[in-house]
Symmetry: C2
Subunit: 303 residues, 2 copies
């Protein structure tokens, strides 16, 4: 491994080198699919990737990070990246590269000093359901990478067990989506490229209830939360239709149109986040956060 | 007023006309401050502006909308804009303009067919506090226009009585911020350009409690919510430190650094949204939504 502060003779300085082009290709969906790799940028995200890499190797798994490219300046400011990049038995090297090289790799004018090339981290649906999940978020036909990342980050914060992206959703390995996750992509299992109907029937078979987030839903999230609180205080609930304490898969739709009629029809219930003011609705990220936190609170109180 | 479908002789077709340049100047902060005007784009936002205009005139107030520019095609698709633009006694005219003109006005490649020039709608802090508010959101040093708009929209959805922007925050009349509000800018009172310390002391004097949203806060939002629910079920709460049912001003800080130490010190309490997973935090928009909805639920249950 190179020491920080001394640019080694083999520092990468040619932005047109094959290896640089190979990383740059990961900005596009087809480039990523071909190699089943993506990249993350910046000290915080690379730190999270390296931590996941170390945890994965410690647990006998395969490598998460394939390569790290960083400027001398960045490594001086973040010496912990060196530490993290050298778990026992790892072949991982931090390669020194110029700002121009990092700029060419990530197609950004102001590169953040460090880039890690990572292998896809998503897992099969079966693996998620076999682990007896309590809380899962699924995004259906979500198009904006920032929204996809925001919901993944919120699901992580709410302690969800997994996030699932339907096959018609934006690619979670898109650089902007990765950035919006703020590292959460490495914190909880992610499933991608699956059909909504397939997920719903597998979830139901695994004893997981399915709620569709729907501004026009017949069930009010506040009512479900109040009923859940009432149960915690051992009050009688006459006609509760759904207990938020139960294992739940939440479905969230496209940011502009929400869930389609046939998508909602697959769920056990359609649940609306109440709008108390004059807003037509919440945006996708905020609505999903309210739903996931409502489940998380009910489940943790019941534990 | 022009009829839809017939481009009139006085349709605006010159993107370099003075009037077009005047609108375009509203994209910049100094241009807006000079004329105390801003613009909104697209049928939905213009509809909300015109509705606010009508409500304001009906209530004896001054004009919200100064001018509307639209393409013939847009007016064919949205004839309701004509209706809304002609309240009794209004001098408001819908001017027909070409796509090129709208593009030059808004500096967008794909203009949305209609633009309204609006007068600033913000109100003085005193007016908000005199109306006995129950729930207010204040943004301190928020820099991203999308975040500012998202929080305003979430505050509207939560039924907040006002949103306040500190003098070091991004301008809520920035076109991107206006777009992110999805019309909420016209739904509830907005205060801008005020000092945090001034707002906090005025709020306290008006009997409004002040909570700082702070990932490191000593009070947990879930605890406050559980205590509030317990009170609703007439349980004994031994040492409650803050009742969410009370009138509350929430403070939210900069998206990267949060609230500064001296800002937090002004609040009655620092409250953390619990993070159950491995995420470091929620982003500003989602954290603010969880806080505001927690207050809204507690207050509505107590009513």
């Amino acid at each position: 491994m190179n020491e920080p502060g001394r640019p080694p003779a083999d520092a990468m300085t040619n932005p047109r080198a094959d290896r640089v082009r190979d990383v740059a290709k990961l900005a596009g969906r087809s480039g990523r699919l071909k190699r089943r790799q993506f990249f993350v940028e910046g000290p915080q995200a690379v730190r999270e990737a390296l931590q996941a890499h170390r945890d994965c190797l410690d647990a006998g798994g395969t490598a998460v990070v394939e390569a790290v490219y960083a400027t001398v300046e960045c490594l001086k400011r973040h010496p912990e990246l060196f530490e993290l990049a050298s778990p026992k038995g790892s072949q991982l090297q931090v390669r020194i590269a110029s700002d121009l090289v990092l700029s060419a790799m990530t197609d950004t004018v102001t590169p953040q000093g460090v880039v890690a090339v990572c292998n896809f981290v998503d897992v099969p649906l079966e693996e998620v359901l076999a682990a007896k999940p309590k809380l899962i978020a699924m995004l259906c036909r979500v198009q904006d990478p920032g929204n996809a990342g925001t919901v993944l980050r919120a699901a992580d914060a709410a302690g969800a067990d997994a996030v699932i992206f339907s096959n018609s959703s934006v690619d979670i390995y898109n650089p902007k989506a990765v950035r919006s996750t703020a590292g959460s992509l490495f914190h909880l299992p992610v499933v991608r490229g699956v059909e909504l109907a397939e997920v719903v029937s597998a979830a139901k078979a695994a004893g997981v209830g399915v709620l569709a987030a729907d501004g026009y839903g017949q069930l009010n999230l506040d009512l479900l939360q109040d009923e859940s609180a009432a149960r915690a205080f051992e009050q009688q609930i006459p006609d509760s239709q759904y207990a938020l304490e139960e294992p739940t898969l939440w479905l969230f739709g496209n940011e502009a149109q929400g869930l389609a009629g046939e998508e909602k029809a697959l769920a056990d219930h359609r649940v609306a986040v109440p709008v108390y003011g004059e807003a037509e609705s919440l945006n996708l990220g905020t609505a999903a956060t309210v739903c996931l936190y409502a489940s998380a609170r009910a489940q943790r109180r019941a534990d």
